[in-house]
């Protein structure tokens, strides 16, 4: 408890002092996590909606593969991105290794299957009824997809929240492809690993508390949006 209290004090101290390194780390964490979640959500929601709404021969195989990829070990994802971006790799000429874009690519690879899979599960139960109704009324595929997404917005929100949770907690892959370079690619998770390794437990704990605060704040924000939607709905339906 004593360590936790000291960590808390150090965290507040670090934030209040506007320590440039900590601010940079927080900024980079938000940039990498939010960018990767946003890109992954865009890909995954589109992919998930199309997969859930269409019938094709290998659908079951695709869904099972996506479910399996939800448990993709981040280090493996990191290794794949590393091998692709390394100087001798197929995209080596872009010189992306040990940069923020490389970290975002690795996180997109990890987060996309999670959001896709959860989007498919969320849509699955409603899709046949919605599709038949829309087709019966002569709606186009695009109009139908918009209605599917609207109707499944709360489960999609939850899928994005789960993806964000995975992204902000990630350390293995971004350590491999980002290199944990000070002021360049160091984020909260990699900094915690570094400070713990150096024996700076107070600073590591302080960084951990900041990470928790960011994660909780963003997740609370998402929950609030969901609850507002549901409450608003209840208010309107009860009037």
């Amino acid at each position: 408890m004593e360590g936790l209290r000291e960590g808390m004090i150090e965290a507040i101290d670090l934030i209040l002092r506007f320590d440039p390194e900590i601010l940079k780390i927080i900024g980079l964490t938000l940039l990498v996590t939010l960018s990767s979640t946003f890109i992954a959500a865009w890909i995954a929601i589109t992919l998930g909606t199309v997969i859930a709404s269409t019938s094709f021969r290998a659908k079951r195989l695709v869904v099972r593969t996506l479910n399996a990829l939800m448990g993709l070990p981040p280090v493996v994802a990191g290794l794949v991105v590393y091998l692709v971006l390394t100087r001798k790799g197929p995209l080596g000429s872009f010189e992306l290794l040990y940069t923020v874009p490389a970290m975002i690519i690795a996180q997109v690879l990890i987060v996309t299957p999670i959001i896709t899979s959860l989007t498919i599960s969320g849509i699955h139960g409603k899709i046949n009824a919605i599709r038949d109704t829309c087709k019966g009324l002569g709606l186009s595929f695009t109009q139908t997809m918009k209605l599917v997404l609207y109707e499944c917005r709360y489960t999609t929100f939850s899928a994005v929240a789960a993806g964000f949770g995975r992204a902000i907690a990630e350390v293995g892959a971004i350590m491999m492809v980002g290199g944990n370079i000070q002021f360049k690619t160091r984020v909260l998770t990699t900094a915690i690993v570094l400070e713990t390794g150096k024996g700076n437990y107070g600073k590591a704990l302080a960084l951990g508390i900041i990470l928790l605060l960011i994660s909780f704040t963003i997740n609370w924000g998402i929950n609030l949006l969901q609850e507002r939607g549901t409450d608003g709905h209840l208010r309107k339906t009860s009037s």
């Binding site: 009824a129 038949d132 829309c134 087709k135 019966g136 009324l137 709606l139 209605l147 109707e151 309107k236």
Partner: protein
């Protein structure tokens, strides 16, 4: 619009669940399909409306094989109502109509939908929800209406109102209607022709009065006898 079914055949796990040949639905006709559960009525309607394409079929719509998406409206058995207001749900199939125009429709008054027009659909009762789904399907007055048990959750009064609306659409506007029902007396009130289906086949077809009073097929006799016994 004329619909001509030359041949429709659907097989699941090597078992034929629907086999219908040579069936015509002339423009302005009102056909009711009756039959026991699992007879293939809904499957047949889904194939007619192109909701089920996984089958062998040769259907001509006004002599053409192309499905005229903008000419046919279908109300499936459990039509989905979106988490929107009644007015917004009604406009889903008729996006060129404004909310004000929806409210001014005679249909809203006839179906008593005006008091709930701004309510969100998940809060409606089963009967009210089915009235909204029915209104949404008939609102645009397309040349063909395909309806799968559109009044099954409604009370007697609402059912009568829907029947009145359907008769008007059929008789005044010449809309071709194909409707599934579990109520042969409803078929007697509305239809110009009845199809009795059993085990994926049309076993009786013709004038409602003749078929209901004196069916030739044994299975049709048994089905109608059973219905009569439960409704006396």
């Amino acid at each position: 619009m004329d619909i001509y079914v030359k041949r429709v055949r659907k097989t699941i796990d090597k078992k034929t669940i629907l086999d219908v040949n040579e069936l015509a639905f002339p423009q302005g006709s009102f056909t009711m399909i009756i039959g026991p559960n699992g007879a293939g009525k809904s499957t047949f309607l889904k194939i007619l409306s192109q909701l089920d394409t996984n089958c062998e079929k040769e259907i001509l719509y006004d002599g053409k094989q192309d499905f005229p998406q903008d000419q046919i409206n279908t109300m499936v058995q459990h039509s989905y109502l979106f988490d929107l207001t009644v007015a917004q749900n009604l406009r889903i199939g008729a996006q060129h109509i404004t909310d004000a125009q929806v409210r001014s429709q005679k249909l809203m008054e006839e179906l008593d939908l005006l008091p709930v027009i701004h309510r969100r659909c998940p809060s409606l009762s089963g009967g009210e929800a089915q009235k909204v789904a029915f209104a949404r399907t008939v609102l645009t007055q397309k040349p063909v209406l395909l309806l799968d048990e559109p009044t099954s959750d409604m009370d007697v009064a609402a059912t009568k109102k829907c029947e009145r609306i359907l008769l008007d659409l059929n008789q005044k506007l010449g809309i071709t209607i194909i409707m599934i029902t579990h109520n042969p007396s409803q078929a007697l009130r509305l239809a110009s022709r009845i199809l009795v289906m059993d085990q994926g086949k049309v076993i009786e077809s013709g004038n409602p009065k003749h078929i209901l009073e004196d069916p030739l097929n044994e299975n049709a006799q048994a089905y109608l006898e059973n219905w009569r016994m439960n409704h006396v």
